[in-house]
Amino acid sequence: MNADPRGVLTGSHFLDGDHAAAEGALAAGANFSAGYPITPSTEVVERLAGRFPFTGGTFIQMEDELAASIAIQGAVWGGSKALTVTSGPGFSLMMEHLGYGIMTETPFVLVDVQRGGPSTGLPTMPAQADMMQARWGSHGDYEIIALAPSSPQECFDLMIRAFNLSEKYRTPVLLMMDECVGHMLERVVIPSPDKIQIEPRRYTKKGPGEQYWPYSLEECNDGDLVPPLTKVGEGHFPHITGLTHDERGYPAMNAKSQAVLLGRLVDKIRKNADDIITIEEDGTDNADVVVVSYGITARVCQPAIAKARAEGRKVGFLRLVTVWPFPEKRIRELAGRVSAFVVPEMNLGQIVREVERCSQGRPKVRGVTHAGGAVHDPEEIYNAIREVMG
């Protein structure tokens, strides 16, 4: 399906990542957002508040992040495409409702423009230190989809991708920005609506009064683990709960129902990992060392890699566009033939743990940490490459 032209600001623009993300949401067909002000993410909802009255959308500023992150889910069950946007402390407050969205299979996009933490931390300065919170921050077991843009253009592109994945897999999707990409101004090209592919929401084909169960796979093809949605007012009378439930949506609190439900929730992501995961590689085919990075840090790596290559070193580069689910298959393949991974990230060691896990002790894994507040000095990354190459 092509994008609805109402939301698409076709043209070449000079935008920061926050505004580009807002335009991505509009192009994706988002027509509802609820938010609560927090630096450095607020510009996203400020732009939506200004643009929605011209595109048939609604923005409401709620009383806190708890409210914002559940208001969007009410809106989804009312038939909207919805997002909320926050940063560090607000991301912590939204964790319960991330879990509610996963459990009730409510599609929406949650943007975290990462800043330094913990607690109030560095409100106006960057970090990539919420990456493990993105994976594990809500209680209980689940799989999550998280994308990490490296530029304002990608804030636009990956916002659309995030919405498409959320609809396809009927689950919340995280867009893990950081203060740098959020506030960096660059050229952003917005294509015409006919060049933007939108994943339509899959609604049940059942008519009013027909028996519809919100978690039944009856209308799915073999192997498809994503039940079709409904919305209010259709005469389906769904019951939606965050309790462990059966396919009717009714509470079913026992070990068997828990195993069946969680098994499906996790499998619908794990079994489709190849479809969800996007990575970018450069020079990995004959590399000795592969630098693995994401977000703004993936760009900061480039001078270091160029310098090492200029010295004749075989340095490959792998960028995680999708961070979760983690591309473990590809990292395992590479682990079988490279001598080391270097993992620069703006935190004290998060994604490096995943690379270590997938490496299973074979190549060396060297994290290049940074506590946040500024991007790395590329020299630190270059030194790490030299160190692992001996």
Binding site: F32, A34, F54, G56, A67, G74, G78, T241, P251
Partner: protein, 304 residues
């Protein structure tokens, strides 16, 4: 249906005490029975009043959504054959806010307990009332947290016993009608579950009135609050409601505090008109943006 607030008294000797089916079962998910509520609990009575009120009202079942939080009253959504949402603890109101904004044709009813709406959800309540988005909030006040074992709530009367105030609570409880009125609710009433006819009529009025409407439904928790405070059983609690109720429509809500064994002022206290969030929004955006304003598709023909 009687327009009077007087309850109809049926002769208990000649009237049958049982019937073949539940008279409101059309509105219930019968495949979820039996429900979890204790014998003597007042929540079921309130649901009975609610279902009869919607039956009497002009509302189309397809266009009613019920949103609950967590707790004993939070389970109401799961038993009603409506579009029904059992949300997170305290957050029924913000969920309902998003739902209403996305689907204004839907009558959104928030049905939850005193702890859910006024402790963990208190912040959402004051803002929802302030915004005056069209929705009806039905609060079962049983003076404690039932689901978790009878802990002190923001409604627990002064000096009452709860599991976390074993020697008596010393906090001043909320006066819910006064709170709702202060925050901007356009309709505020309180009834006990003894006053079934009055409650049913009041729920219907609240459902049919635009704006943020609120009803406190005083109900016994015989297993915890009533037992711990040595108030007898569920029936004894209803008898005390009959005895202590002071029906005073239009009462000053500042004088509606509830204390242990004191009067329970009941009635319709507030019934005013104030522009709702949706109509205000549309009127204002039309004024400042003129023809450039694009109303959301789902608002067309619903919001004027």
């Amino acid at each position: 249906m009687s327009e009077s607030y007087e309850a109809t008294v049926t002769d208990p000797v000649s009237a049958p005490m049982t019937c073949d089916s539940n008279p409101v079962e059309d509105w219930l998910r019968m495949d979820r029975m039996p429900h979890i509520w204790c014998p003597g609990c007042g929540i079921g009575t309130s649901v009975n009043c609610f279902t009869r009120a919607i039956e009497e009202s002009s509302l189309d079942r397809k266009n009613i959504a019920i949103v609950s939080g967590i707790g004993c009253t939070g389970r109401v959504a799961g038993y009603l054959l409506l579009d029904s949402f059992h949300t997170t603890h305290g957050r029924a109101l913000p969920f309902a806010t998003g739902l209403k904004l996305a689907s204004p044709k839907t009558k959104v009813v928030v049905y939850s307990g005193d702890g859910d709406l006024f402790a963990i959800g208190g912040n959402h309540f004051i803002h929802a009332a302030r915004r005056n988005l069209d929705m009806t909030v039905l609060c079962v006040n049983n003076f404690n947290y039932g689901m978790t074992g009878g802990q002190v709530a923001p409604t627990t009367p002064e000096f009452a016993i709860a599991s976390t105030t074993p020697y008596g609570s010393v906090e001043r409880p909320f006066n819910l009608p006064y709170l709702a009125q202060s925050c901007g609710a356009v309709y505020v009433a309180r009834w006990t579950v003894y006053h079934v006819k009055q409650l049913q009529r009041s729920i219907r009025e609240a459902l049919e009135k635009p704006g943020f409407t609120f009803i406190e439904m005083v109900a016994p928790c015989p297993t915890l609050f009533v037992r711990r405070n040595r108030l007898g059983d569920g029936l004894a609690a209803l008898e005390s409601y009959e005895e202590n109720a002071v029906i005073k429509n239009g009462a000053d809500t500042r004088e509606c505090d509830l204390g242990m064994g004191g009067p329970i002022v009941c009635g319709k206290f507030v019934d005013i008109d104030r522009p709702s969030y949706l109509s205000n929004q549309v009127a204002h955006l039309r004024k400042v943006l003129g023809d450039r304003y694009v109303m959301p598709d789902a608002w067309q023909g619903v919001v004027e």
